[in-house]
Symmetry: D5
Subunit: 165 residues, 10 copies
């Protein structure tokens, strides 16, 4: 079979692994990376994650969200199965929506040192109101720092129609 | 449980509180805040509020809207259950659509002193016409003042399709 | 102008009336009727009412629903502006969703003595779950009684997709 | 050009006619027919008419609807341009929604003597409520009379979602 | 390669053929068949044909439709590329919508002698009205004749929403 | 009832008025204004008007459109019921689509002297083509003049999908 | 406040209760009921539950579903907050999709002894395939037993379009 | 963890297995079953399979479809990962759409001996036409044989709108 | 009737004309203009043309597209019925998609000498791929030349979702 | 037939060719070009390719995506049937999503030397997460290099809603 060589994937231990362990408490150490094969090009990778769930820190009731993560890689790229296990580790964790989204972005910056990254959470409603936090980041003293400001300034000028149904 | 510490939530008296009182007249004093844990970052929080209702000041008939509130916090953040009770207090209050949207934004500026905020109301039709007011604000003498002008200039260039059905 | 004669509308006191009073407590007496001009024909009339709101009897928080009412008239037909004022009177009234829908149908049976009627409420969620009660009725010892059983047996075999957004 | 022979269209005076006159008061006499070329087969023809408008008989405000007309022809079929002119003639006419729909069906029965016909009007809201009347008819003492009962019994068990937007 | 044997396709001369000729006048003789390999089973095959166009017999303006054809095969099945060429041959042909749909069904009955067949045309509007004819057929003195009556009786009780946009 | 004071509404004579007269010929004098209560803020008000109808100046056939009007008020604001009556007055008026949209904007500039305004008409098709004119305006020698140029340059780069159905 | 009397709600201990405990292992005992106030009428209640999550019994990866529950009550009705806590108790529980749906229905039959009930789970995909189990039940030796057979025979003849996006 | 016991899954060798082999030629032997735990109840299981691809037997070009499979189990149930591998084995296989759908159903009948089963394929277009075959089956001399006839008679009376885009 | 004066329409010979001739080969000379009545204002006019069809220059099979044309008029404006006849003249014409779109724009520049124009064709797929060419133009040495560059740079950053169904 | 001359198509060997060979391993040499007939104009061509499939390099399971390719041609343009065969050649090829998208763009740059190009892949989910890589390119030392940066900075600020269904 042509394509990706297996030797470029030695850091990837979870993908296709039969005995995957799921962590039931918040665990950023499960994240893994592989090498960007196109480091001379700036390009985007987006993860759509509609199966995110966590708990309210005060009432302990479950919260549900779709998390959208978009980034421009530098040297390292996050492997998607490890990302899945990382997001799973919020399952029994309690945090406000605004904090979860910032935590996810901080952990991915720590892991990959990306050129640019943004995280948008779209939560289901409680008491008739839903909350959608969005944060972003560009590497300091590069043009991506300016890009982060530009994208924040232009963020979500067409809020999607919400009816709670 | 990992996550938000309860001691950061001492101002939050309404969330999870069994004996919540609903105010039947306009009451901005019900709004509560908690501290922004990421004050070094500019990021957005959006509230989708599809259950807003008020009365016409002249005919007293009920009006219904979805209210979209987006802001960039500074030090304080509005707690969502108190926001719900605040919006509830318009239930038997009479105002024009254009005024309700401005009032909500003024009260939230007063409460949180945010870096940036915008409020968009999308009302159901009366007599075959519906009205959607939008206002925004950036903190004076910061780059968010310019951001408010920029977003107003680019506001709603793709009006959603309305058929009144 | 050709069309409906004004003399057939003498019972209709609310439509087009400038000084309409809105009742803030449950009030079925506001309902008015006019005469069916096609009593020899069985036909359906449906009211779509997306602006229904009431209160939870235990927590007093507001509930919102779209109410769909369909009926086959006999001699009398409900006038739509009076129906609007009647539904408004649930605004500060506390009831379970299942009870509101049954109450609306009972009041309309009492008012119009229709051949057939059905009422379906589709409420917004609380705590991640939404509730949609449906009831119907056919006049006893007519073929419409059998019609009610038939429509109940076939009710809602394709539940609409709900995502709480 | 192959296809319909012009000599089968001698009754069709309006289609393609440059000097069409529009009637500004209700005028069923404008309706024209042509001959059904498949009288040995029962088949349906549906007209979708989203540009119907009339006036309220009491307040004189304009009303708008989409009218859906479906029928099984017998000997005569209604020509679509004459149908358009007929529906135009309601433009300055005042009637309740329930009456308009019955009137349209009565006029088409009178014109075509169809085996089966049904008319469904879906109107835009007034005061937060929209009204959708539906009537049907099957030729007496044929199996189409039973068909009309059957279709009424099964009518609209999945009301379309209405949000008034 | 496993699968269909080439020797079962000897009648199929058009599929994959480089020098296909397109007929510019109505030409049912272009239709080809292949053998049903599951004649002991009653099953449906549907063709979705959104690229149908013909001419008005009176004004010669072009008409456009999506044609839906569903049938239960008996011994022969229509080959899809020949169906495409057949539908193409209406391109410069003039006929009323009601006639086109009946003609297509008649030609396919003649070709395949199917157990059951139905054809539904959904045309774009002219003068604000669109027309959607539907016809069907079941083989005489089989249970498919009754099936055709049953499906006609239940036809299109939920007309799709049309806005002309 | 808290909210808008009645004394700020003395110019508003039509809202809630029982004996409203509908003008059957083009009549901009029916338009009324009330005072902007937030003149120190630039904000948008949008009217969605899906019930606009006029006549073709050459064939006299009816035309239908949804009109979207967005503006930034200066001192005066148009009252919505008077806007409804104004748009009604095009009902028996003959004009090209491009002219209607320009006329509406000119009349509203004349009435309110707004900081910025734009009008977009989306008409239903005739002969398979629909026309959507858009015009805008910013007050001369203010930054809103530049805003008008900017919004024209960026206008409608994502045309909505049209199928004529 | 008019409406439901508090004394009819003595069994309802969870609704509006501040200190709700969430069970992290499967726990049907958390379910509570209240009395049906319309026992002489057959009517439907539907719960839409888009926030259901459980674990795969073999790989322990999380599964997500929307659960639709519809029933005709007899004497008792399930209270919705207790239903929420019950569904929460599947959060760390491992089961096949087909078993979860049957278990939920069995527990609700045990709890309420309803006249009729059905449960439909629509799960998100794993490996490109999603699974949607559906079961139903009618009380033995009543007409609801026949109703269950009838609804099974007619179940889901129009599968919703799935694209995995 | 509560839930399914591992000992009921001894036949399930592929689910969660790291070294899964993909068969590149048609291979029904890869299918595996597990035991139905609710054999006293008739209930439906549906598989949504939007990632089906095969080859044209004549031109060898790839074809793509969404396959919907619904069945009522008897003693055995097909395991979903083995179903995925089975459908994968059509990847380089050549067959007409009508044959693929019948083959899939025949193989699943052979495997599970279900009470009832149906398979619907919805293919992407070639030359402007798409083909959607549907077949079904009920166990001989049970009420499910009659159910298969009933569902065929009622099949797809509302064809989904297709635009080829 | 108020509105457009007939004397401004003397160039308009096709609109409302009974004996319209349809050209079966490519014919730009059929295009007609009328005078812009608002030449001091820059504004947009968009034509939505979902009924465009042409032939493949190599295989002669028919191609179908929706054509979107937007322009800012200078002195002359294209009359819509003549545009319809012009687009009809591609019906039996053979060209690549990229060429048709450029040809249409070139002919309209030649006809109207507009300030700005753009043409976007969205074709139906052949062999699983669809092609959507887009071109634009601004009058040389005006700010509209820069506008054309700007709009090309920003073109279609959100490609519509295509599934070929 | 008017239109494209056959002599401009001498490089086009695959379009309309009966005996097309499909390559089962990655093969960029199958790509063919034809000459741009509008080289003095900058314009876009977009290919929508919803039938892309490849294999995971580690697990060998199939992956599916819709690929969107947009470019501004210089001298050469890619012929669409050869593009189809090229994309087919990924069918049994193993690569990460991020690599496939970059490879496609690199091969098309090599083939056509376009002024600008971008490629966006939208893949179906694995384990609850889907991945959508996007890359772009502008010819070095032209304004299209800057255009690539600009479009990357503005990329996908409105991620489409993903529910995995
Ligand atoms: Ca929604
Ligand atoms: Ca929804
Ligand atoms: Ca409309
Ligand atoms: Ca909700
Ligand atoms: Ca609503
Ligand atoms: Ca709507
Ligand atoms: Ca439509
Ligand atoms: Ca149309
Ligand atoms: Ca449309
Ligand atoms: Ca989706
Ligand atoms: Ca089309
Ligand atoms: Ca599509
Ligand atoms: Ca697909
Ligand atoms: Ca489609
Ligand atoms: Ca979900
Ligand atoms: Ca989907």
């Amino acid at each position: 079979m042509t394509g990706r060589k297996e030797e470029t994937l030695t850091n990837v231990t979870l993908l296709g692994n039969q005995g995957t362990e799921y962590a039931f408490s918040y665990n950023p150490s499960v994240l893994e990376t592989f090498d960007n094969q196109h480091p001379n090009r700036d390009y985007f990778v987006k993860f759509n994650c509609p199966e995110f769930t966590t708990l309210c820190p005060k009432t302990h009731q479950p919260d549900f969200a779709t998390i959208y993560i978009s980034y421009i890689p530098d040297v390292k790229m996050v492997e998607s199965k490890s990302l899945k296990l990382y997001l799973f580790s919020f399952r029994n964790h309690g945090d406000f929506h605004e904090d979860s989204v910032n935590t996810i972005m901080n952990d991915l910056i720590q892991l990959m040192d990306p050129r640019y990254i943004e995280v948008w959470g779209k939560f289901t409603p409680r008491g008739g109101i839903s909350i959608d936090p969005y944060c972003n980041y560009g590497k300091k003293e590069t043009r991506f720092e300016e890009m982060a400001n530009y994208r924040l300034m232009n963020h979500d000028m067409y809020p999607e129609t919400i009816t709670n149904r």
